[in-house]
């Protein structure tokens, strides 16, 4: 239907605009990717090669650097396992309980419902940093310092994830389905686990990825909580790398360590990118 309008706008002007668009897009894509390309190249080069200057061609020391990283003074592999534990458990707890909270507000008509909903939305924007002081004092008193518990359990109360789940639930879950299950004699908890959760699968998947990545990348709280070298997560170890006198380090190993903490996320992202990019706006913005 817009064919006749397009004729009016001269074809050449559209072509020019299209070319400009492609140039800008390619430049921006370059700006996004070039750093990871240099990182990859440098992770394959030895310390001697790196001091000689930059070349855009990969070298043959990937294996050496990887081996060097495994045997470096920092427990990088342990750090990755720690990060996996913290981020994985946070993602599971966060999505399961956020769905449960959303279901409580969505399906039941109790007295404090509106208050609860307004309250959760109101606290959504409070950054974790402003309560960090009290948080650290509290977990010191609870003897949970240097423990994964204060990094994992708080994920249960995630207002932003709750909001996303609530938005999604409004569009997919009709209460007649719940009614039908009740007539069949199913208990409320069973209904939530067997009927509501499976229906919410797409939203749970998107939020699980986001929560996992957010916790995988989180630096502020783990740096305050984790003290033992063996307990530290990857971001904390990376920060230590910067803190040490880094000129003494083998630069090949430094690049390999950075690559080791970045590339797993990139690979997973490329596999799941369709869901992730589509999921950003699914329940995020309200118009």
């Amino acid at each position: 239907m817009d064919k006749d309008y397009r004729k009016k706008e001269s074809g050449s002007s559209v072509r020019v605009r299209r070319i400009i668009a492609y140039i800008v897009l390619i430049l921006l894509a370059f700006l996004c990717l070039v750093w990871f390309y240099i990182l990859f190249i440098n992770a394959t080069r030895s310390h001697q090669e790196l001091t000689k200057g930059f070349t855009p061609i990969p070298s043959s020391h990937f294996g050496d650097n990887f081996d060097g990283m495994l045997h470096s003074t920092q427990p990088i592999v342990k750090g990755m396992v720690n990060s996996l534990i913290v981020a994985g458990l946070s993602a599971i707890l966060c999505t399961y309980f956020s769905t449960m909270t959303a279901y409580a507000i969505h399906a039941y008509n109790f007295k404090l419902r509106k208050f609860a909903y307004t309250f959760i939305l109101a606290v959504m924007m409070i950054p974790t940093q402003v309560t960090a002081l009290g948080f650290i004092q509290l977990i010191t008193k609870m003897k949970l310092m240097n423990n994964f518990v204060p990094l994992i359990v708080p994920a249960i109360a995630a207002p932003a994830t709750f909001f996303y789940m609530k938005q999604y639930m409004d569009s997919v879950l009709s209460l007649s389905l719940v009614e039908a299950a009740r007539i069949d004699g199913a208990g409320e908890y069973l209904i939530f686990n067997r009927i509501v959760l499976p229906l919410m699968k797409p939203a749970v998947a998107v939020q699980a990825i986001f929560t996992f990545v957010a916790n995988w990348n989180n630096y502020f709280t783990p740096a305050l909580v984790l003290k033992d070298e063996e307990k530290k997560t990857l971001p904390v170890l990376i920060a230590e790398l910067r803190g040490a006198d880094f000129l003494k380090f083998d630069m090949g190993i430094v690049y390999m360590t950075i690559a080791f903490s970045i590339f797993p996320v990139i690979i997973v992202y490329l596999i799941l990118s369709k869901n992730i990019v589509g999921g950003v706006t699914l329940g995020g913005v309200k118009e």
């Binding site: 706008e9 668009a21 409070i126 002081l133 009290g134 430094v254 950075i258």
Partner: protein
């Protein structure tokens, strides 16, 4: 619901409370109590001076007086704001441009999925590792300097991290790279929500694509633009990982890249709980005010 007996409905609805228990419990313990103790701490003098522990002594609002009258707060707030602006201006510019291009049916851009995937990628990268990467790339003997030397742009290595402007620009640039993909996708959603017939009508009337963008798209995007602006500002206030790692926590050169949260982090490490508390409360208030604006603007519907 009226068909059923009242007691049955009440019995069901009790489950609303039961399902809220995990959230409430965890929220109260790990968020609400820490919030109140943080506020409580801000009224006390409580720090270490050498090996001696001072306080805690109740001193009322003295911490606030001290923090507001010292030049540090304003300097660090200024640093944070400057680096946020350096990142935000290109971010909103390119996001609008890309959003308009992606949603323009007459352009029919190919490889849209590829570009969207690529520009969103930096958002998922570990900020601390990204900052560490930039530190190594832009160090005196790093690849950027060696490339510029090889190309003959520079005669001798440029020390990026001794220059206030260069360090701030790098932080702003990293924020831009990490966030413009996210903003593009948000704005695209807003642009696709605009009634297509408005564009068609404008084209029939002979409007150019520039006119359409400035006279139709932009005004109709206003609510979502304000949402993006304020949430980005709230995020900017929390700026920490990138400058912290890039400058090893010092905020150098000359504390010109020390952000508010880096300052708070320093107080937490040195166990200066009084000042740390007061700073937290100030940040809490600023974020609160900004959040209220977001809720007023987006008109989030809580009546349902």
């Amino acid at each position: 619901m009226k068909k059923k007996s009242r007691s049955k409905v009440v019995e069901y609805n009790k489950w609303g409370y039961i399902f809220l228990i995990p959230f409430t419990l965890v929220y109260v313990i790990f968020q609400l109590i820490p919030l109140f103790t943080t506020i409580w701490n801000s009224f006390f003098e409580n720090y270490r001076s050498g090996l001696k522990q001072i306080g805690p002594n109740f001193i009322g609002l003295e911490n606030y007086v001290k923090i507001l009258s010292s030049g540090d707060l304003w300097q660090y707030a200024g640093n944070t704001l400057i680096m946020w602006i350096i990142g935000f201006i290109p971010q909103i510019f390119f996001s609008l441009l890309l959003g308009a291009w992606f949603t323009d049916p007459s352009l029919r851009l190919k490889c849209q999925q590829f570009f969207k995937t690529v520009i969103y990628l930096p958002n998922l990268i570990m900020a601390s590792a990204f900052a560490m990467l930039f530190f190594t790339l832009f160090s005196d003997s790093g690849p950027v300097n060696s490339i510029l030397l090889q190309m003959g742009v520079l005669k001798e290595p440029f020390s990026f991290f001794s220059s206030v402007a260069a360090t701030r620009l790098l932080v702003g640039f990293m924020n831009f790279i990490m966030w413009f993909g996210n903003t593009t996708i948000l704005l695209m959603a807003g642009m696709m929500g605009i009634d297509q017939s408005l564009f068609e009508a404008a084209e029939v009337d002979g409007a150019t694509s520039n006119q359409i963008f400035f006279k139709i798209t932009l005004p109709l995007l206003r609510p979502i633009l304000i949402y993006v602006l304020i949430t980005s500002l709230i995020g900017g206030l929390q700026m920490f990982d990138v400058p912290q790692i890039l400058t090893n926590g010092t905020g150098d050169p000359a504390r010109s890249t020390l952000t508010m949260i880096m300052w708070l982090n320093k107080h937490l490490y040195s166990k200066n709980f009084g000042m740390g508390g007061a700073l937290s409360v100030l940040l809490f208030i600023i974020t609160g005010v900004l959040s209220i604006i977001v809720f007023k603007m987006t008109g989030t519907d809580t009546s349902k």
